[in-house]
Symmetry: C2
């Protein structure tokens, strides 16, 4: 009996506690078990002596846990490291803050709802849906108030879309190289959303087609967060959402109702949605005049930036992980575009000198994450891993340098630059910024 | 300000406790809030006086909950009725039993992992992945043992597939009309799975291409559940899975490794996978010679039935729900086929006399649930709701009568008949069997 992994190269001791608070990823996870694999590899005979092979474990000789009368499943105790994480000190209060999704530990394109990133302006509430209302008014023939159940009776639609905060990867504008992909790109998630087309509601209230140019969306949290949505988006693919990954929205994601503006920075997908007002101009609300604006080198603030442009990131190997040996590694990551579909992703292992095309996982959907993969045999020398996405408009994800030439270094939002991970000769992966 | 819902027809009082243990669905949920909607509807002026409109609720005037340093989100307290449910008395022990998915409350095609159905033969365990091994042996050149991490380094693939227990809808073979869709069809779920192609592993161990005809899969639970998988399936789309809906498998679904045999009855997708043996004939294991066999009218047991044939069910309105008023209702449900893609679903509201084509939600994927929808205006008279799916082989979902003509009434498995829900004139929806 031969072990599957022969580990000729570098390896590192297993972490003492797999539940430790350090961000852990797929390759971190390798730390623990590959040490075992390495032990097996040191001798073919050892495989025969491995307790896991020779002796039936306890769980193969006993009865396990029953099904329960009314149950809701949770992750394994051994996956306690896969969590949303806040970044201490990033904001003055955790009530107006962010918790990042653990992209380094996730597979495919669906983000588990339990670790979908959070961004709140005044904290989150678990709102009783029986008392919740959505008012639709403004330039309409007949203003209306909808209960959640009114909305759930209307014709519905389900679509898989990403949501990315406009500030995602914001720290990288300057020279702050945040250590892990959870913190560089973790304000990004992707779920199957279900709801009613906003156009259905606007038609129902008889919006004034000749004058309507924007729709104001307002949330029912303490921030009363408000954003202006262009009417052409509202009539296209915007949804009033109640379902996320098959079940009702979670409280921190806007239960019982949120807006979803596909492809647009997350702040526009207003949570705990209570009011939609049709108007003939944008509202210049706080969150579109003081925040969510881009400070250009000229000193001018760019306002009303909507689209999350084409972007990608390698999630494994990524910062904070360690390659334990040379040889085969799968490079994998995510690509997305607020303008449509991903048509191609290129991968480089030498900092952009040479590129080759990655394999895209199907289905490739509109304004949705696309998983890409590329084979890689690591020879043990330092490497610079990059990915570069192209969408169906032909837009090519830019270098950070190209973005800075146009936008300077004082922006917070809309950094869609190519990300570089440096693999050191000891296997450690870190975040570096190439000029 | 006009209320959105004008409720002219029947309505029912709200349930006293929305957390009660009775299966609740989308339409049940209407019970509570539509009563409020009805109150609003009774007078236009009342809308102005509705506290939910006039006065800002507490959560709009206060700070909410913070993000936490390391968090994992859960459903709202108001969704506590959406749970997997066991059926008391269905099995002699809850350790070898079933918990059904609450299809009546779900949206889209992704089943939330927390309510993905469970079926165990000896209970479930939370297996430490560091000690877990997968042995691949038999008619192979080089038998190998893989750690979980060995497998996670190999080229991966993600796909969205349904898993349906072969016994799903089994009670309906006789004249037992189980009351809700959770119990009639709830041994059905659909997730994005990530893992390694079984063909990748078989090539790695050098399977004997000239002699290999079956692969035995064995689980590491106390049942040591074993099933024979035809080699043509193994080399096609079978996966050794570690990821489900973006995160690692949950313990009750086979953590850290399971097999996924797309389109085949769930028992073949062996959980807690520890052994794969390549052989030249099926093994006639307990779970393929005593169980999971079909007793035909001739008295002969049909063995080695694999494919879950084309099937569909309306999930809303469905048994146990109540239509609170006449007028518009969206009929929605799920269709799937173990042979490929769904090409069409027809819906009838008069027990199959007249049919019309439902709208299929895209993307429509191979061996995956497809959500269908049809508009319906209920006039308040009794109705018989049915759906009929067709797959890309041209197979048409049969009537129960047609199935019984061939297979009798003593089968347990592979009931893919058309389901009928009867809507009474008081709006109550129940399960009926049409002859």
């Amino acid at each position: 009996m031969k072990p599957a992994s022969r580990v000729p190269g570098r390896r590192r001791p297993a972490p003492e506690n797999h539940l430790d608070p350090v961000p852990r990823g797929r390759r971190d996870f390798l730390l623990g078990a590959m040490a075992v694999g390495a032990a097996i590899a040191s001798s073919g005979a050892r495989a025969e002596g491995d307790p896991a092979i020779l002796k039936l474990p306890e769980h193969s000789r006993t009865l396990g846990a029953p099904v329960v009368a009314r149950g809701y499943g949770l992750p394994s105790q051994y996956e306690a490291g896969v969590r949303r994480r806040a970044s201490p000190g990033l904001t003055r209060t955790p009530i107006s803050s962010v918790a990042f999704a653990p992209l380094q530990s996730l597979f495919g394109i669906i983000t588990p709802t339990g670790v979908h990133f959070e961004r709140h302006h005044a904290g989150w509430h678990d709102i009783d849906p029986r008392g919740h209302r959505l008012m639709v008014h403004g330039l309409v023939r007949e203003p209306m108030v909808f209960t959640v159940d009114d909305l759930m009776r209307l014709p519905s639609v389900s679509r898989i879309h990403f949501i990315e905060c406009g500030a995602n990867t914001g720290m990288e504008w300057t020279n702050v190289a945040v250590p892990t992909v959870q913190y560089t790109h973790g304000m990004l998630s992707c779920c199957e959303f279900t709801g009613v087309r906003l156009s259905t509601l606007l038609e129902r209230v008889g919006f004034d087609n000749s004058r309507a140019r924007f729709v104001l969306a307002e949330g029912a949290d303490g921030a009363s967060l408000t954003r202006s949505i262009p009417i052409e988006f509202a009539l296209d693919d915007v949804l009033v959402v109640y379902g996320q990954n098959g079940e009702m929205l979670r409280p921190e994601h806007g239960y019982p109702l949120r807006l979803l503006v596909p492809g647009v920075q997350g702040v526009s997908s207003v949570k705990w949605l209570r009011r939609l007002e049709v108007g003939d101009q944008p509202w210049n609300t706080r969150e579109e005049s003081l925040h969510y604006i881009d400070l250009l080198p000229s000193g001018v603030h760019r306002q009303y930036t909507w689209i999350q442009e084409c972007k990608s990131v390698i999630t494994s190997p990524s910062g904070g992980q360690v390659l334990l040996d040379t040889g085969y590694h799968e490079i994998t990551g995510l690509a997305w575009s607020g303008r449509g579909r991903i048509t191609r992703v290129d991968v480089s292992t030498d900092g952009g000198v040479n590129w080759r095309e990655a394999v895209l996982q199907t289905p490739i959907l509109d304004k949705c994450l696309t998983r890409f993969r590329a084979d890689w045999v690591w020879d043990g020398s330092p490497a610079l891993l990059q990915s570069r996405a192209i969408d169906d408009t032909g837009y090519v994800q830019p270098l950070l340098r190209q973005l800075r030439e146009v936008r300077g270094t004082r922006s917070i939002y809309h950094n869609n630059a190519i990300q570089t991970w440096r693999v050191a000769d000891n296997g450690e992966v870190g975040n570096v910024q190439l000029e």
